[in-house]
Symmetry: C2
Subunit: 178 residues, 2 copies
């Protein structure tokens, strides 16, 4: 990545700070005021350089349309599904207890959600009661994988097997001896 001058780094840092304080980006004049400049041109130039060098992304013409490349959208907000209500699709509003941010490095695809674990049947796989399990819906389950299965109106976390055309769901309960 191309090097920044001291001033350019100051501007980039201020953009970053402003966003974390306001949750929306600064205007050029916001930046101008902060550095005590008497013209908008200087700031404009710095922003231009930061865009050219790949540190910022900008939507031309739009107000406050700055994004910091990289840090920009590393987070996704997913719904938290608790006890499942009878007869409703899993992600129906009635089933959603909350929303939580997850790193996109975990929630890579869309449509993923958190399921709140009930019971201790999976303690052996380090999945405890009230844990939030990040669920990625997919059409198939691999033999022996841990999966979320809908049994009637109950969403359950179990290890999944098919033997002789029969589906088996295995809990994982350890017996602890001290």
């Amino acid at each position: 990545m191309k090097k920044l001058t001291a001033r350019q780094k100051q501007v980039l840092d201020y953009v970053s700070l402003f966003i974390s304080e306001h949750s929306y980006p600064p205007s050029i004049r916001d930046i101008q005021k902060h550095f005590g400049l008497k013209s908008t041109k200087g700031v404009k130039d710095h922003i231009d350089r930061l865009v050219e060098k790949g540190y910022l992304h900008r939507t031309d013409g739009a107000a406050r349309a700055l994004e910091i490349v990289g840090r920009s959208s590393s987070v996704r907000t997913v719904p938290v599904v608790g006890r499942v209500a009878a007869g409703l699709p899993l992600l129906a509003e009635e089933n959603i207890q909350d929303y939580r941010p997850v790193s996109k490095s975990l929630a890579r695809s869309e449509g993923m959600f958190y399921l709140k674990v009930q019971g201790d049947s999976m303690t052996g796989a380090a999945i405890l009661e009230d844990d939030l399990v990040l669920v990625r819906p997919q059409p198939f389950v691999e033999q022996g994988e841990i999966a979320v299965v809908l049994i009637g109106d109950e969403a359950t976390v179990k290890r999944f097997y098919i033997k002789n055309g029969r589906i088996e769901l295995h809990p994982e309960i350890p017996t602890t001896i001290r």
Copy 2:
């Protein structure tokens, strides 16, 4: 919290979506276009209601100056500490492997960090190898709490006891019988 109408919720959801996609908030006309409306007034009214009811915060007059109350900056970026290098402070650059976003509902205070777990000594407490443990530095440890302790140059996760002035660190290894 005051109830929202279906339309207001749609608008709020779109603001949220727009922010997660662009990392800066939408303008009133952005929202107008998305819903296919032919006047900005309707959108303005919805935003006004959302502000009145406490779901949005706005800086009057400023462009795109919308924040979603609560979820706004609900994320903190914390360093991930891996194997600890000899003689260096825990959060020295050499020890930091990565940075990761965490929900502020978990990382409430500043100075918290992730520690990558080595070994399986805490499997019984559902803390597995390579798990990331969120650490909150504090001056004291409670009797029987799980804590991160620095032994020489090794950061270790153990259950902490003091008995007769002697410190005891207990691992938690279960024996699993199938």
